[in-house]
């Protein structure tokens, strides 16, 4: 029987979702405070990274963007999921794997697309680019501000390249802005948004359900642009 953590898959049917969230909200938010304390002043570097991405996209110079996103994902996978969250839940090891795997795929994309960029930028529509810009701005700027406002604590908020949700939302937004990338790259960010929404739901923190909303909207938008592209070609 295949094993997940220390449980057989057959045992999983006897558990509820909340059984896999062995923490309370206070402790989960403390993780963000501790992560921010640990990472400061790396936040400034991360901010510089976001500005770099936007400038490069504006200049239609896409090289180094996937690599930069990969670094951000590895930093979060290790410093948040493995270093902090895995102390509280064995599921965090699997969450870290999502971040590391996506980072690997982005590095592969960087290598495969190196010679295709900066060409073929026409393949990305302004609408898709604007959607990606909006999503990445939400993940990088508005989501951290919203969390800080709702929780009345900037120290316990989420930030790009520091904490999971802001990082993944930013990455997903940037992916929409990159031409000639494989659609499969969107699977892991989508999966994370679903998982993170489940965690927030389990913790009764409903502002976190915006991740489900964004995952749904992104999925619908991606499918719509794909169908439209097929029809036009």
């Amino acid at each position: 029987m295949p094993a997940l953590g220390i449980l057989n898959v057959s045992d999983l049917s006897t558990y509820a979702v909340e059984d896999f969230i062995p923490i309370d909200r206070e402790v989960f938010f403390r993780l963000f405070e501790r992560q921010n304390e640990f990472a400061w002043p790396f936040h400034l570097l991360a901010l510089g990274g976001m500005v770099f991405v936007f400038v490069q996209v504006y200049r239609q110079q896409f090289r180094f963007i996937p690599a930069l996103l990969a670094v951000a994902l590895v930093v979060v996978g290790y410093s948040f999921h493995l270093r902090l969250f895995s102390e509280l839940s064995w599921t965090a090891n699997y969450f870290a794997a999502i971040y590391f795997f996506l980072a690997g795929l982005l590095l592969l994309t960087e290598a495969l697309c190196w010679n295709k960029w900066p060409g073929k930028v026409d393949s990305i529509s302004p609408l898709r680019c604007n959607f990606g810009m909006g999503l990445s701005l939400f993940g990088g700027v508005f989501y951290p501000l919203t969390v800080a406002f709702v929780r009345d604590s900037i120290a316990g908020s989420e930030f790009f390249s520091i904490t999971p949700d802001a990082t993944m939302l930013f990455v997903m937004g940037v992916l929409f802005m990159l031409p000639v990338i494989h659609r499969g790259l969107f699977v892991l960010p989508f999966l994370w948004c679903v998982i993170s929404g489940i965690i927030w739901y389990g913790l009764d923190w409903y502002p976190g359900l915006v991740l489900w909303l964004l995952a749904g909207v992104s999925c619908a938008f991606g499918l719509w642009t794909m169908l439209r592209h097929r029809e036009s070609s």
Binding site: I6, N8, D11, T14, D19, I21, P22, R30, W90
Partner: protein, 315 residues
């Protein structure tokens, strides 16, 4: 009240006051071994040993990892628990860092003598029963558990015979099985009928009383102690009652209930089959409220009906 009883009462009240006053943990560590005999107790049927009817769970609330600030706050909760007459602490390998946080707290409190340590085996590997126990013991910083249970019936067919062997070797005093949220009651019933276990743990609270129909009568018949988990339905009941701003009725105060958590707990532990309820909390003030249910009267069958009727009209 005899002079001796009066002195015992004063000692415990003083300790409880000190516990609330914010005295550093180490300062009170040597005093947490409160006399427990004056609290509401039930017998463990298989041994006749008496156990105070309110214990504590650690699900979610004690899983704080290496966060020093939160670890200190959990040690204060443990201190309140013991100075208020607490004995049973229940944890599991499934609860993340909860075991080691409890172990750390117990170490700081110099291992209170009244502790009744209950833990679980949580692994699908049927050969890992003893290894799982040893790992849990190292987290708790103990040499022996009072009670070991098979968590959520995970591979109980393999674990129960091994737990029985560990009991015969004197490595654990009591053995049992657990379930929660009303799941797998049919399987639990079969185990209770066919295996010599000392304890079962199941969900029982004022709005989830499924166990009353078969499992609790069976536990009485078989002489199995029952631990009630999720006494507040995961906090929902207390939140709902506190939000309703409905005051506790005067007649409940005669039973020794000063607040809603005590009302809910008294109902649970007054069932003749229930040995102990294990509410979990991360706040000292809530622990104090919970432990208040350890004193006063046990409701009669008639009073239980009245309590239930009253509560169901509110939630």
């Amino acid at each position: 009240m005899h002079r001796r009883q009066f002195l015992q009462y004063c000692t415990v009240q003083t300790l409880a006051s000190v516990a609330m006053s914010g005295v550093p943990v180490a300062g009170i560590a040597a005093q947490v071994n409160a006399n427990t005999s004056q609290y509401l107790q039930k017998e463990i049927p298989s041994s006749g040993e008496k156990l105070n009817v309110i214990g504590m769970g650690t699900w979610q609330t004690f899983n704080v990892g290496s966060d020093e600030k939160l670890r200190l706050s959990r040690t204060k909760i443990l201190r309140t628990f013991f100075t208020s007459g607490g004995q049973m602490i229940d944890s599991s390998p499934m609860y993340g860092s909860s075991q080691s946080v409890v172990g750390d707290g117990l170490q700081q409190l110099h291992h209170p003598k009244s502790l009744f340590a209950a833990d679980k085996i949580w692994t699908s590997d049927g050969d890992a029963t003893a290894a799982d126990m040893q790992e849990s013991l190292s987290h708790w910083q103990l040499e022996k558990f009072h009670l070991l249970q098979v968590h959520n019936l995970v591979n109980w067919q393999a674990h129960l015979p091994r737990l029985q062997a560990l009991k015969e070797q004197g490595k654990v005093k009591y053995i049992g099985v657990t379930t929660s949220h009303g799941r797998r009651h049919d399987e639990l019933e079969k185990i209770m009928k066919s295996h010599a276990i000392d304890f079962v743990q199941l969900t029982y609270n004022m709005t989830h009383r499924e166990a009353e129909s078969r499992l609790l009568p069976l536990a009485q018949e078989k002489g199995i102690a029952v631990i009630a988990n999720r006494p507040f339905d995961g906090g929902y009941l207390v939140d709902r009652l506190k939000r309703s701003s409905e005051a506790i009725p005067d007649w409940a105060r005669d039973l020794g209930c000063k607040n809603w958590p005590q009302f809910l707990l008294k109902y649970i532990v007054s069932h003749p089959a229930i040995t102990c309820a294990i509410p979990a909390t991360s706040k000292v003030v809530h622990m104090k409220e919970n432990m208040g249910a350890l004193v006063g009267a046990i409701p009669t069958e008639e009073q239980r009906k009245h309590m239930l009727q009253y509560l169901l009209a509110l939630v």
